[in-house]
């Protein structure tokens, strides 16, 4: 869609490929008995990626910018859910699977669409306890428990 993205990606990939080549040169050389050591393959890949990113840059500069279609993005909704997801991961091993999952679902449901508090609570609870019961009690797996104290 946007050429700026392509240009950005091209530059970032070019940097990555240079770093990759430099880093693979640092990997110690050939293993005994083999002419080809652990660094050959990443080195080749790094070079190919560099060439491809140059090609991408060339393509993105050559072609004229297309008319940008303005679409409606819901950054706020996405941002809240994404942060909630990060918090969920962060809290998972602290407050346990049940509580963190329940809270995450509750928040995410409400962010997606406000209202119907009761049904969101019920669905979050069913999912959370359902998974926990199935996995921990029936299948004998283990999930993080509440461990704040």
């Amino acid at each position: 869609m946007s050429k700026t993205f392509d240009k950005g990606t091209g530059i970032i990939l070019l940097i990555i490929s240079i770093l990759f080549v430099l880093e693979s040169l640092k990997i110690s050389g050939s293993a005994y008995g083999s002419a080809i050591g652990p660094k050959t393959y990443p080195l080749i890949l790094g070079i190919i990626l560099g060439l491809l990113s140059l090609r991408l840059l060339y393509e993105s500069f050559k072609s004229k910018a297309e008319s940008k279609e303005k679409s409606d993005f819901d950054y706020k909704k996405f941002g809240v859910i994404f942060i909630a997801a990060i918090l969920y991961v962060f809290l998972l091993e602290i407050i346990g699977y049940v509580l963190s999952t329940f809270l995450f679902l509750l928040i995410a449901f409400q962010v997606m669409e406000k209202g119907k508090i009761l049904s969101t609570i019920i669905i979050s609870a069913i999912f959370t306890f359902g998974v926990y019961f199935m996995y921990v009690s029936l299948l004998g797996g283990s999930l993080p428990k509440f461990s704040l104290f």
């Binding site: 002419a35 660094k39 990626l49 990060i86 998974v131």
Partner: protein, 508 residues
């Protein structure tokens, strides 16, 4: 033991009660995945790998792998059935492989023939599924016998061919597809080198020593990428669902669609066997073929039943055909089969020629279960088509957060580390950004799965030849593979230069 004997043993495996259950659950979820717009077969299968890993955790490895792959393959071909439902009823294809079906299917629904269209799609899919399975049974032994002769050089070239084929056909820009392939290969080098035991690109971070887990990347890129897309982009979709009155097709419908189904099945099967060309391309070609063969091509796009029967058979046959290179050569030809392969590797089962000798239970059990699964799908789809149509109305409000929660649970249950959870979130963002800007993600996943094997074979070949790179071109078979690989990249470029239109395979 002959093929028949093996197949019978396969049926014995497939008909164990828990495997029947797994196949049943697989195809039902698959149909649901196909019906739900937003989750494609790739994210569906990726999402279910951890779930099946959990479900089969108590079993011995061999049968756990067999049961999981039976379920996952069920999701794969089940999605092909389900994809047609939304195309016909809503004019919004659930999968890219059903885009063509919408052309005539939706028109039929408008004329009150939704039931006929749906059941013809189901019958066509069933026939195609069976035909492609027969092909699979016939080709499996000979192909894997040939593949047993391959040395590391041949394998290296063959895998390169697989990657080139997928990149050559994926997405709008080949540069981008190749970049994604190389990125996947690069990500695959992170971790401890299998040959020398030297840590590469780990920077003393303990979680990186094992390498990036394929499952995490796949779930993040596909499942979360789709979820993020749906949350971010407000879609205005509220098509009215067409009414289904009569489910069974008339005699005339059946007569009209018999030949398209046969043609579509064969065409789809052969396209499916080719690496890179998948179900989408198959359904597209079938539609064109039917239009050519038809006595009145003008009726296409206005509710011609052949326009539903052909493509729907073709995309199902293609998904069966795609299993052949996966099972016999160990080379996945598409994104979804790459994920299936990743699942097998997770169980320490290496797909490829030895699969039929080392793990006949898995290989033949899977094949037998597909016969059975297709039958279940036919039975389920005819009467339950109305129920599945209801799934379309699942509110996104509940669906999306639950998909996030399932991916978190699944990945955590398998990996047991929060690092992987952060990683899927990051991959979700990348998956969204890449797809949005026409960078196909399927080649990345394919490359991530194949990467370590490519490197191992390359180094083994070079060790045999004392570091002479010419080994890849002096072995005739390897040379042929390399030439085909090169052709796969060059021909589309040449065609583009001469101004011809190139059909690309969209994500499936």
């Amino acid at each position: 033991m002959g093929t028949i004997q093996f197949l019978m043993d396969g049926f014995a495996t497939a008909l164990q009660w828990h495997n029947i259950l797994f196949a049943l659950v697989g195809v039902i979820i698959g149909t649901a995945v196909g019906v739900l717009p937003g989750i494609g077969p790739m994210s569906g299968v990726a999402l279910l790998i951890p779930v099946t890993a959990t479900l089969t955790s108590g079993m011995p490895t061999e049968s756990a792998a067999a049961s999981s792959i039976i379920l996952l393959a069920g999701v794969y071909y089940g999605a092909m059935y389900g994809g047609s439902t939304t195309s016909i009823l809503l004019n919004t294809p659930g999968e890219s492989s059903s885009v063509v079906t919408a052309l005539d299917g939706y028109q039929m629904a408008q004329q009150g023939r939704a039931g006929a269209a749906l059941s013809i799609a189901a019958i066509g899919s069933f026939v195609a599924g069976i035909i492609s399975l027969i092909g699979l049974v016939l080709l499996a032994e000979p192909l894997s016998n040939i593949a047993l002769e391959f040395g590391p050089a041949e394998y290296f070239s063959l895998m390169l061919l697989g990657l080139c084929a997928v990149s050559g056909l994926a997405g709008k820009s080949m540069t981008k597809a190749l970049i994604m392939t190389v990125l996947g290969l690069l990500l695959g080098t992170i971790g401890i080198d299998a040959v020398s035991g030297i840590a590469r690109f780990t920077y003393d971070i303990p979680v990186l020593y094992g390498g990036l887990e394929f499952l995490t990347i796949a779930v993040g890129l596909f499942a979360l990428g789709e979820v993020f897309k749906t949350i971010l982009e407000k879609e205005t979709e509220d098509g009215s669902i067409a009414k289904i009155s009569r489910v069974l097709p008339t005699k005339k419908d059946l007569k009209d669609s018999a030949k398209p189904i046969a043609r579509g099945s064969l065409l789809g099967f052969f396209i499916g066997v080719l690496p890179g060309a998948g179900a989408t391309l198959a359904s597209f070609f079938s539609y064109i073929t039917e239009k050519k063969f038809s006595k009145n091509p003008d009726s296409f796009g206005k509710g011609n039943i052949a326009g539903v029967a052909g493509p729907e058979s073709a995309n199902n046959a293609a998904s069966g055909g795609a299993m052949i290179p996966l099972l016999t050569l160990g080379i996945p030809g598409s994104g979804t089969t790459a994920i299936l392969m990743g699942a097998l590797i997770m169980y320490n089962v290496q797909p490829g020629p030895l699969l039929f000798d080392d793990h006949p239970e898995i290989a033949w059990g899977l094949i037998a279960s597909m016969f059975f699964g297709n039958l279940i799908l036919l039975i389920l789809n005819m009467p339950l088509v109305k129920v599945f149509a209801k799934i379309i109305q699942t509110p996104k409000k509940y669906l999306l957060p639950i998909i996030i929660a399932i991916s978190f649970f699944g990945v955590y249950a398998v990996q047991y580390s929060t690092f992987d959870l952060y990683l899927i979130l990051a991959c979700g963002i990348f998956g969204y950004l890449f797809t949005k800007n026409d960078y196909p993600v399927a080649p990345l996943v394919l490359a991530l799965v194949l990467g370590p094997m490519i490197e191992n074979n390359m180094r083994r070949a070079l060790t045999i030849s004392n570091g002479e790179w010419s080994i890849f071109v002096t072995s005739p078979l390897s040379l042929v593979f390399l030439i085909i690989a090169l052709a796969w990249i060059l021909i589309p470029i040449i065609l583009k230069l001469t101004g011809k239109k190139v059909i690309v395979n969209e994500e499936e």
